[in-house]
């Protein structure tokens, strides 16, 4: 994050259940409406499958499952955000994606450590913009299966 513009971070805001998350626009390739997803067997359960993204077979991750939020039916507002991380192209299923905003750097704080919750390290920081609370994601961590297993183990 340090190398980004001095003052603000331009980010795409999306929604999962009733919380809002942010991904820096540089990492976002496109936002797609729901496409046909082909299930890939024997993969982590948050990997929904693969889609045909303009001729490229792209893996899709269900962020609800990834974050341990209960599943819900896909609706009209469900979107797939295509992100680029370390030269991989991956799609993230979110409940809705609707905004691009500038977040002032000094509005970003490290994630609060609250006793009794799982310390999810894919949250890089929390930003308060007006009355909204935005969680900034660390996409590398989102994709790694390492802490996902730990999370599952913790929750039993």
């Amino acid at each position: 994050m340090a190398e980004m513009s001095n003052e603000t971070v331009k980010a795409i805001i999306f929604q999962l259940k009733d919380e809002e998350y942010a991904i820096p626009v540089q990492q976002v390739g496109s936002i797609e409406r729901e496409l046909h997803i082909t299930r890939v067997p024997q993969t982590p359960d948050f990997v929904t499958g693969v889609i045909n993204l303009r001729g490229v077979v792209t893996p899709i991750i269900d962020l609800r499952k990834r974050f341990g939020i209960e599943a819900s039916e896909y609706t009209d507002s469900t979107r797939i955000i295509i992100v680029y991380i370390s030269e991989m192209e991956v799609g993230l299923i979110v409940d809705a994606a609707y905004d691009v905003i500038d977040i002032a750097k000094d509005a970003i704080e490290p994630p609060p450590e609250v006793i009794g919750t799982v310390d999810a390290d894919y949250i890089e920081g929390v930003a308060k913009v007006d009355s909204r609370l935005l969680m900034l994601l660390n996409l590398d961590k989102v994709l790694s299966t390492q802490d996902y297993k730990e999370l599952n183990n913790l929750e039993g």
Binding site: H36, T38, V40, Q42, E89
Partner: protein, 672 residues
Amino acid sequence: MMEMNEYLEVFIEESKEHIQSLNDQLLILEKEPTNMDTVSEIFRSAHTLKGMSATMGYQDLANLTHKMENVLDAVRNHKLVITSDILDVVLDAVDQLEAMVVDIASGGDGTRDVESLVAQLNAIETGEHQEVDKSSKTSSKPVKNNDSSFEKLDQFEWAILQQSEEKGFQNQEIHIRLNENCLLKAARVYMVFEVLEQVGEVIKANPSVQELEEENFELDFTVLLVTKESADDVKKRILKVSEIEDVSINLFELGVSDDVSEKVDEGQDKATEVTATAEKTAKKPNNGVINNKTIRVNIDRLDALMNLFEELVIDRGRLEQISANLKHGELQETVERMTRISGDLQNIILNMRMVPIEQVFNRFPRMVRQLTKDLGKQVNLEIVGAETELDRTVIDEIGDPLVHLIRNALDHGVETPNEREAKGKPAEGKLLLNAFHSGNHVFIEISDDGAGISREKIVKKAISNGVITQEQANTLSDKQVFQLIMASGFSTAETISDISGRGVGLDVVKNTIESLGGNITIESEFGKGSVFSIQLPLTLSIISVLLIEVEKEKYAIPLSSIIETAIVSKSDILNAHNKKVIDFRGKVVPLISLKEVFDVPGEQVEEEFYSIVIIRKGDKMAGLIVDTFIGQQEVVLKSLGDYLKDVFAISGATILGDGQVALIVDTNSLIK
């Protein structure tokens, strides 16, 4: 820095090409030591390489090439005759060059200790090498001798000189020396020629006119002039050009000059040969330019083009559907046209990814030469069908298996010259590398006329290794027995050598080829030789599959691994050790439920009839239980990407006509 890198890439690519060309041409030269065409070709490659590496600042590379160039120059000027020993040193030098380029490519500075090689090359160049040919001495003498710089005249030139003599012209050999301080040598040469053309005709120049134009000479040059003017007049005219130090004119007499007449008397054939090569060399650069009208394109870009094109194909499918529904004449016509054009386009795009197998084959002559020397064998390698084209992806993978098979053939196949003669075969063995297209496949055959494979030996070994039982051995066909040598941990060679064979290897070859969707078979006649035949798909990017359905999911099974499909009634399914098996043409074939393997959601329903796809991996078979067969289709193989690599029993994905993704089943991992 970025720009330098860009140059570096080009430099490395081109260096590799030149090194390959050096290797090729040197081997040709070994067979035809007098082929001056080849020498010129080698010289050109070396020269270019030297120039490039000097520009890029790789001094060692440039130095070594320079030395090599000197030796080649001596050969070219008939001061040196190529021998096997000289060739060894030169090939060594080429190896070093290659190592340097590889070093540079992997980020090194391309430095290498080449002193001893340079010394060897120097020795050869200065004639210390034992093998300097006597005749070359005599022919090199006149070069230094002013009396005749033109010891070699081609037939045509000879004829002109003879004619002119008959018609009362003089043939003058004019030796011109430029002033040491002359700056624009080429300009002076031009002026001299200008003068000479006024009084007669210049038949030949030494150095050649081209070299003179390029200032590729010191201060002296000699021309052969046909004129009616007297020598004195010509001299005076030439001296009018400034910066001319000295002019000496001798009459060039045909027939009197021993050297020339002898050369011609030796036989007209030789003279024609020289002409022919001279003409060829002169024309070659032009031809080269025409033939090499290519540009380098990154394979990624071709992939991107392919991806876009597939998108187009999918939309084309939709358009066809829409126009069929609307039944609008003009629309239908347009869509049909578009379909045809895009079909052509598809062929072109696929063809762009095709590379001649030459790229793999061209390193073999060198390898065979070295190996036969090491093994003390005599083998003549023949390559047929090097122009056969294969998809780039296959080309990249097929090199190592072929190397292994060739090593195998040389080591275990072809016998030593003594053994061969004892058997009444010619001392020189034959190794044939043959590539050809057939249907949707490319075949590569490696055949030798060596010892062949002994069935008894293999059977004995296989039984002692516990690979097969005696009863099995009796029922196996020769082909099946030969296949055994490609089972892992199997080696029939009695002596283990460095060249090949430690029992690992042939099984790796087999696995590699199978992973490419191909297969390998062996035919052999004991005492007469063996043929290893590899069958490969034309391309890895487009494969034929059988589409099947399990519940609502579609999967593609490569046709190359399918034996056949069958519908089996429930009563025909037997149980063996808690496993479902069927009796398929007398063989017990285990059944695998794709639904279970892939955890396909849906209820387990007991059915009366099962749809089964019989697949194979080598000799082993299995039956895949599916719900429905959809049909056969050509599909484009796509990777699942880095994030989902190593998914069990899935080798990739493909995009179907409706735009959906279907997974491709990796049948090899389903059979243990």
